[in-house]
Symmetry: C2
Subunit: 258 residues, 2 copies
């Protein structure tokens, strides 16, 4: 069996409820983060405020030190921010970096069972915790900006006007999150009801059970009013079609029992 | 002009970056929460742990005191949890309730511009902050459980085996979050580039710009191996078809300038 890297199980990331659905596998967790367009990033805004804050951000896994590192290797999470935003200011003011939690969840299906309590979603979720520090060299910033742009559409970076100019470089801030712990959770399969309900004909003859597959569709690209490039480039069309097909396949695969 | 209710702007929920995209309108914010299958809920796990935690949870806006309250009225957020989970235990041990932040984001499109920095997503996001308390009467618990089940598929509750039995009632915990602040952010329209790039033919003749509409598709329901109800009930088919059509329409509407 090939040994794969896993995040260490600590108190704060160990899955207790439905622990068979838990995963600590780096590749699985990093893949969920990379394939989710918007991540939710949580942090404590200030000591007087009792509430954590959550920001929707775009981010991607990567390693500036080992750029060829694969998804199953230790990676940082690069988050794209605005230079004067609160999270960036807080990160600048904490020597160790700002403690953040990053979450990504993809819904693959609605699972409809005999009883409300057995209802569920098929889903894949990933959570990372780590310290976010502001990237301070242009070289690493460009590395992260390229990765983030290519997350939106692979290969997009080099098809646009690059490099960013001075104003663009100074108005953009990149947060590099050193990951301390991570975990993922995956639910797949059909509805699981208790025998006490499955054995009652008055229930099973009345309640439909099954799965509604759910997936993110990328629709045909629409040119902007000022666009001058015709036809739509192949790398965009291919990516859009492949993403929809892959998402659909994943949602349908998730209907099968694991 | 009709006066609509808005969340008060406080320091922690005021949108500074791209403030024209911000909304404090109750109906808009509550609608995003209700139409997002999985919410991300952030909380501080314990005083020694520097990291906030994030849980994917299912939740819905509602008011047990004023069940007929509309989406544009003050509402609580009901979250579904397992009785021995960490967030529920913490909520039980805090007299005021546990301070949480709830986030929901829907991506409506990839916005591809001339330069990496002008790339964006069309999206609708909502963030709520409030104190979560464990619901302690069966009556309110049933109210919330029904609303949560009907979030998965409207009308589903009364089509299943109800009411929940004693074991189901005691293993389920419901968190009622009293909302203190809330805000939303909506980005729509095509790419917005600077004149310095739009006026350069060498760039505009090379870089395709436009929007890839993105939306959540609910696919045809698949019956479980043990299902005995045939054909698939109309209320499920209709909901699945309408949701996909509405999501698609929203993604296409978002391409237009606001």
């Amino acid at each position: 069996m090939v040994q794969t890297l896993a995040y260490p199980k600590k108190k704060q990331n160990t899955i207790n409820r439905y622990d068979s659905r838990g995963t600590y596998d780096l590749r699985a967790i990093h893949h969920i983060i990379n394939s989710t367009p918007v991540l939710h990033v949580s942090f404590a805004p200030n000591p007087e405020d009792p509430f954590p804050a959550i920001l929707p951000m775009i981010g991607v896994m990567g390693s500036f030190e080992y750029p060829s590192a694969d998804l199953d290797e230790p990676l940082d999470c690069y988050l794209h921010g605005y230079v004067s935003s609160r999270i960036i200011r807080l990160a600048r003011n904490s020597p160790k970096g700002i403690p953040v939690c990053i979450a990504a969840t993809k819904v693959d299906g609605l699972v409809l069972a005999l009883t409300p309590n057995s209802h569920s979603y098929n889903y894949r979720s990933a959570v990372l915790q780590g310290y976010g520090q502001v990237v301070d060299t242009d070289q690493e910033k460009l590395y992260a900006m390229e990765k983030i742009t290519n997350k939106v559409v692979p290969g997009r970076w080099e098809k646009t006007r690059i490099p960013p100019d001075n104003v663009e470089m100074t108005s953009t801030a990149i947060l590099r999150v050193k990951i301390e712990t991570g975990s993922g959770k995956v639910r797949q399969g059909g509805p699981h009801d208790d025998a006490k309900d499955e054995n009652r004909a008055d229930i099973t003859e009345k309640v439909w059970t099954g799965v509604v597959p759910v997936y993110e569709t990328f629709d045909n690209p629409l040119s902007s009013a000022t666009n001058k490039v015709d036809p739509i480039p192949e790398y965009i069309l291919k990516y859009v079609q492949n993403t929809t097909a892959e998402n659909r396949q994943l949602a349908h695969d998730a209907v099968k029992e694991p």
